[in-house]
């Protein structure tokens, strides 16, 4: 009934991107890898911020939980890193469920500070080597490279395919979610909580669902990050990371998956392009953020109205 997903120009874009790596040196491929990772993170955060309208500035916490779950299970128990992928997602989702449940009713900026708080608490716990398993500020090193069908993924070019295929899966999953009863419920909550309740939507439980799904996905991304870096430390999951993810979502267009991907290109790619400006590069970057927001206040690609094909119905007669 709905317009099939495959008509989206996004797929053309993916084909172009997949043709690129052979033409690029490892550095630029690695830049693309980072873009891909942040696009996935952005899409998972977009569900919370863009679709459900919850101000989350602590997404890095869930990302961290996933990464650390993977790192610990891999280095301590030698489980193959990719086999832990679902488990990393599960742990992060469970964590989100437990910490967000008592505070999910907070509104707007109050929820924002609480998510910042959760992010900081997780980071501090990691730095302080909680339960003696996180390695403190050293973090965890020696995380295995992923192995697929007996083939070890090592170089940036190889990682490219792993990350971008995961990104495509992410896009498909989140697009489908967006185009469903659940996705609509998220949007209803964003637009008007009271009216959403009036439609029978259990607001608290759906808000929590959004957090859990977003966190689960961020947790799985953490797994890929861990195996790509082979070392993780609390620094990689600071408040600043959450800010970056948040910026990606808003700059790209809150509620828009296409926008989020473009956002990741800008926020992660742009500083690399500005590299030659050396110490002035972050200055230019900050300025660029302001200017882009002013030029496109609703983001680069704001979400479009979902369209439904109802022509066949319209032509019918409804004498009730």
């Amino acid at each position: 009934m709905k317009r099939p997903v495959s008509f989206n120009p996004l797929w053309v874009f993916f084909i172009v991107i997949f043709a690129l790596p052979p033409l690029l040196d490892p550095y630029w491929v690695d830049v693309l890898n980072n873009v891909g990772l942040y696009a996935i993170l952005g899409i998972s955060l977009n569900l919370i911020v863009g679709h459900t309208g919850l101000f989350n500035l602590g997404h890095a916490a869930f990302y961290a939980i996933g990464a650390y779950t993977s790192a610990i299970l891999n280095t301590k128990y030698h489980m193959p890193i990719l086999s832990i992928l679902p488990l990393s997602g599960f742990t992060a989702g469970l964590f989100a469920f437990m910490v967000m449940r008592p505070i999910i009713h907070l509104r707007g900026d109050y929820l924002c500070i609480v998510t910042i708080g959760v992010g900081e608490i997780v980071r501090i716990a990691l730095v302080n080597n909680i339960f003696g398993i996180t390695g403190g500020s050293n973090g965890i090193f020696g995380i295995a490279r992923p192995e697929l069908f007996g083939y070890v993924i090592r170089s940036p070019h190889q990682f490219f395919y792993l990350i971008w295929i995961f990104l495509i899966i992410t896009v498909v999953v989140f697009k489908r979610l967006e185009h469903s009863r659940v996705g609509r419920a998220f949007n209803c909550i964003r637009d008007d909580e009271i009216a959403a309740q009036g439609c029978g939507i259990n607001v608290a439980s759906y808000k929590l669902t959004a957090f859990v799904i977003g966190a689960t996905w961020a947790g799985m991304t953490g797994n890929i990050f861990a195996t790509k870096m082979t070392i993780i430390s609390p620094e990689s999951f600071s408040f600043w990371e959450s800010v970056i993810m948040f910026t990606i979502v808003i700059l790209g267009g809150a509620g828009s998956i296409e926008g989020t991907i473009i956002g990741a290109f800008l926020i992660i790619g742009l500083p690399e392009i500005f590299r030659d400006l050396s110490s002035a590069r972050m200055l230019v970057f900050g300025l660029a953020m302001v200017i882009m927001m002013i030029l496109r206040p609703r983001g680069l690609i704001p979400p479009k109205l979902r369209s439904y094909n109802v022509r066949s119905i319209l032509e019918r007669d409804y004498s009730v």
């Binding site: 040196d25 490892p26 550095y27 630029w28 690695d30 830049v31 980072n34 730095v127 302080n128 403190g136 500020s137 050293n138 973090g139 090193f141 090592r154 170089s155 940036p156 870096m229 082979t230 070392i231 430390s233 620094e235 990689s236 690399e272 590299r275 050396s278 110490s279 590069r281 972050m282």
Partner: protein, 356 residues
């Protein structure tokens, strides 16, 4: 120009929290490169310094490393933080690029025995050893250890704690905790420290916090000796604390350039002051210079830019190289050989005085 130049990379924090370190590293290397090229280069090839910013952050460092690799540098100097170095190590090693770190003192970096990794700075465990010797020599019994939860400071603190506890000798650790770097009011921590009544405090963190601790301790009228790790070695420490508060502060460090009898150090110091208006602040910038000179020496001697030959030379043949910070040689892990650490004390004028 390919054949006629040799590319050396510098990876350092040009932006972010440690930007001052990175920028000074670049200043030192710029000076040295100018010098080498003025003398006709190395083996007739001009040296081209390729600088990449790691932002003091592991993810950026991984990218910076990729970028340096794709630019075909034969060796990389840097970087400062241990976690940051760690994120780049694998990439350089896989690409067979020599890396000479200048500020990453974490023990495990060389425990992996990567064939192309070296460092001109000493390791934390060596520093801990010197710290414990000093503590014993000065006769302190009740020790408080304070770190800042960074990889480096915590490593040093734990290493020292372990050594002190092992070598009984009546030394007691009465306090062990971490402050949050970047804050400015440490009175709450000092109040707590004071109530543990130590007769000495060993702070393993960095100079900005050390300076503030000294200053606020003085304001509280609490008279307890402080010893710092080598990250407190920076003239700004005295500026932050004020001379009155800094006086009597002990710290461990690789020898300062001014305390080196070598002509090299003196020349560098003069040239640096002439070009930039002041002597270098950070010993790590000078250690980056050492790394650079070592690699140039290797290229000159082996008449090659082949990484295996260079690494082999550095591991085995390089001996007693006159570096700015003393004589340099590397062991099979890539660690610098020899006692590097000295003990310094701040005098009334705020000068750092080498202790016998």
């Amino acid at each position: 120009n390919g054949a006629n130049e040799v590319k050396i990379g510098l990876m350092g924090p040009m932006t972010g929290k440690w930007a001052s370190e990175g920028q000074e590293m670049k200043q030192v290397l710029d000076l040295l490169v100018e010098d080498v090229n003025a003398k006709g280069g190395v083996n007739g090839m001009k040296v081209n310094l390729v600088v990449e910013d790691d932002g003091g952050d592991p993810r950026t460092a991984a990218l910076a490393a990729q970028k340096l690799v794709t630019q075909k540098v034969i060796a990389v100097i840097g970087t400062y933080g241990s976690a940051v170095t760690e994120a780049s190590q694998g990439i350089f090693n896989e690409a067979k690029v020599i890396q000479i770190a200048n500020g990453s003192t974490a023990i495990r970096l060389t425990e992996k025995k990567l064939p192309y990794f070296f460092r001109t700075c000493p390791r934390d465990d060596e520093q801990a050893k010197v710290a414990v010797q000093t503590i014993r020599k000065l006769g302190f019994k009740n020790i408080a250890i304070l770190h800042d939860n960074t990889t480096y400071a915590k490593g040093l603190a734990e290493e020292a704690k372990g050594l002190l506890e092992k070598e009984a000798g009546g030394v007691k650790i009465v306090f062990f905790d971490a402050l949050t770097p970047g804050e400015q009011d440490y009175t709450a921590i000092l109040t707590k420290l004071k109530s543990a009544s130590p007769d000495m405090v060993f702070f393993t963190g960095y100079y900005p916090e050390a300076g503030l601790l000294l200053k606020q301790k003085k304001e509280m009228k609490w008279d307890v000796p402080f010893i710092g790790g080598d990250a407190t070695n920076n003239p700004d420490l005295v500026k932050i604390a004020g001379k009155e508060a800094a006086v009597g502060f002990y710290f461990l460090s690789a020898p300062l350039p001014k305390d080196l009898p070598s002509g090299e150090a003196k020349t560098l110091l003069e040239a640096f002051s002439k070009k930039y208006g002041n002597p270098p602040n950070s010993i790590y910038a000078v250690l980056a210079g050492d790394g650079f000179r070592v690699i140039i020496k290797a290229i000159e001697t082996t008449k090659s830019t082949d990484p295996d030959k260079l690494a082999d030379y550095l591991h085995k043949e390089l001996k007693d190289f006159p570096g700015f910070t003393g004589s340099i040689a590397f062991d099979e892990k890539g660690d610098r050989v020899g006692e590097v650490y000295r003990v310094y004390k701040v005098d009334e004028k705020g000068q750092f005085i080498l202790q016998p």
